[in-house]
């Protein structure tokens, strides 16, 4: 029996070994910070990096130095370009070079010179912004309609196959418009809306959550013009997110607050410094970017575990449509990092800015839908 067990051919064994060795070697190389010996050095690298950016822009040796420093704050073994997504679906990305759709094979399609964007519910359309306009596009970049409004930002699209709405901010006002570009209304009351992306609840009726400048979060129904509930003032809400199970997550400066569908607060997780958070597609867990750490909070068990720790601050977090992978970013290292939600496996991609023709680090606006 032993010989048969030893001689069995396991599919992909060699590739698995090399992938694992890359991850283990990276963890070994980054081992020192956990013992507290490397932190002053990391701070020095951060300072040096800030100075090196200017130099790097003008000289070849400078670019070499920047590359070297990026290696120190990023994942050591990273692919030089995005050759494929580890799971299905498509990414929507915004950069200085415009808004882009990235396919599973890593192919990039530029939709145009837009500033920000998000997917329609089934990924059939994209809503994009310029400074003073809102646009509905196909994923091929064909414009379907546009709407001129001042200071447009944070468009979010929700709904079913037959009826959709887009919420967005224009200046400090929340507006809602139908998916065909008709019926645009000012949906916010007083005071003004804060600069926080609104979030749609996934239900048959349209309910949108938005934060106001007093720190309150309001859930508003544009069909009836009614307020479902409004929270007490919170400590600087910065992220709003609904789960499929009708829980509203509000990330504040000091905690994650969870509310039920009728506005009752069901959980508070004290956690400072969270910059991004997203419910898993099944709603059971929340991925959290906090400083240089990517955390996964199990909502029911009230447990938080660390999935990944980078050498510099993370930016953003997005789930793959199948809920098996997370995408976060290390802007200081110019890297994207794909992390397996079950833990351990990591795939990193370098040179992200150049791939989207951008001076600033590109932002992932969404990871949507197979196809």
């Amino acid at each position: 029996m032993r010989r048969e067990l030893e001689q069995l051919e396991i599919p992909g064994e060699h590739e698995a070994r090399e992938r694992t060795w890359a991850v283990v070697a990276a963890a070994h190389a980054a081992r020192e910070p956990s013992r507290g010996r490397r932190r002053p050095w990391v701070a020095a690298v951060a300072l040096a990096l800030a100075g090196a950016v200017v130099t790097a822009a003008v000289s070849s040796p400078g670019r070499a130095l920047l590359r070297s420093l990026r290696e120190q704050v990023g994942v050591e073994r990273a692919a030089p370009a995005l050759f494929r997504l580890p799971a299905g679906g498509r990414l929507l990305v915004s950069s200085d070079g415009g808004v882009w759709v990235v396919g599973r094979d890593g192919g990039r399609r530029r939709l145009g010179a837009y500033l920000s964007a998000s997917w329609s519910p089934h990924g059939r359309y994209v809503v994009a912004t310029r400074r003073n306009s809102l646009y509905a596009l196909t994923p091929a970049g064909e414009e379907r309609w546009s709407l001129a409004r001042p200071g447009v930002r944070f468009p979010r699209w929700a709904g079913s196959d037959v009826d959709t709405r887009i919420a967005y901010l224009t200046g400090s006002r929340l507006h809602v418009v139908a998916g065909d570009g008709r019926g645009d209304v000012d949906a916010g009351g007083l005071p003004a809306a804060a600069r926080v992306p609104p979030a749609w609840r996934q239900s048959r009726r349209f309910w949108v959550a938005y934060a106001d400048t007093r720190g309150r979060v309001t859930v508003y129904g544009p069909q009836a013009g009614a307020v479902l509930f409004r929270t007490a003032p919170l400590d600087h809400p910065r992220v709003l997110e609904w789960s499929r199970g009708d829980r509203l997550l509000v990330v504040t400066r000091t905690a994650l607050e969870l509310y039920g569908a009728q506005g009752q607060r069901v959980r508070r997780i004290p956690l400072r410094g969270v910059t991004a958070a997203a419910f898993a597609p099944d709603g059971r867990s929340i991925a959290i970017a906090r400083g240089s750490e990517l955390l996964l909070a199990d909502v029911a068990r009230r447990r938080v575990r660390r999935l990944f720790a980078g050498g510099s601050a993370l930016a953003g977090v997005a789930w793959s449509p199948d809920g098996r992978w997370l995408l976060t970013a290390l802007p200081a290292a110019d890297q994207w990092v794909f992390v397996r939600a079950s833990g351990g496996r990591i795939e990193a991609v370098s040179n992200v800015s150049a791939q989207f023709r951008s001076q600033r680090f590109p932002r992932v606006e969404g990871w949507c839908c197979a196809g």
């Binding site: 067990l5 069995l8 599919p11 283990v24 070994h28 809920g323």
Partner: protein, 171 residues
């Protein structure tokens, strides 16, 4: 088992001091059986890769605390097999809980290419684990009992039942 004790201790000492080559020697010596053991318990190559990877990452995180007098292999295999059992149990539960969930569409498991594997896959994960520890990794029942924190009688009975079931399936 996979490496002479002296080599193993030197690799652990070197890896602890920061030597990537010593860590690589340790990794290359222990990866094949760790991955294989996980695969034989979970019968899913991607999951086995995750499990073996997590075990090695745990080893890296624990290098400074690792007792150099203890052998590395049993310590690693204990993590691998326990996580593999947990994974196999969890997958059995999820298979029921996620029926009808549009997001639950795991890739079909790779077909097993041997009678022994198919028979092994039909056993409960706990029996698979003790058979793998005994017949792939070569531990004695007493060592398996210590690795899994089980009474020796339990290990013996799982081995017996598992082997009986294999014999019956394989004829």
């Amino acid at each position: 088992m996979a490496a002479a004790g002296r080599d193993e201790r030197a690799w652990v000492r070197g890896a602890r001091a920061g030597s990537a080559s010593d860590l690589e020697a340790l990794f290359r010596a222990y990866w094949p059986r760790a991955f294989r053991a996980a695969y034989l318990v979970v019968h899913d190559a991607a999951a086995a890769e995750d499990i073996a990877q997590e075990a090695f990452l745990a080893a890296v995180r624990s290098l400074d605390r690792f007792d150099r007098r203890r052998p590395f292999g049993p310590w690693l295999h204990r993590i691998v097999v326990n996580r593999a059992i947990d994974h196999a149990r969890g997958r059995a539960l999820r298979a029921e809980a996620e029926l009808g969930d549009e997001h639950a569409s795991p890739a079909p498991a790779a077909p097993l290419d041997g009678d022994l594997l198919a028979a092994l896959a039909a056993l409960p994960p706990e029996q698979r684990a003790v058979i793998v520890l005994r017949h792939l990794l070569g531990y004695t029942p007493g060592e398996i009992a210590r690795l899994l924190d089980l009474p020796r009688g339990t290990v013996n009975s799982r081995l017996r039942r598992g082997l009986d079931a294999l014999a019956e399936t394989l004829g």
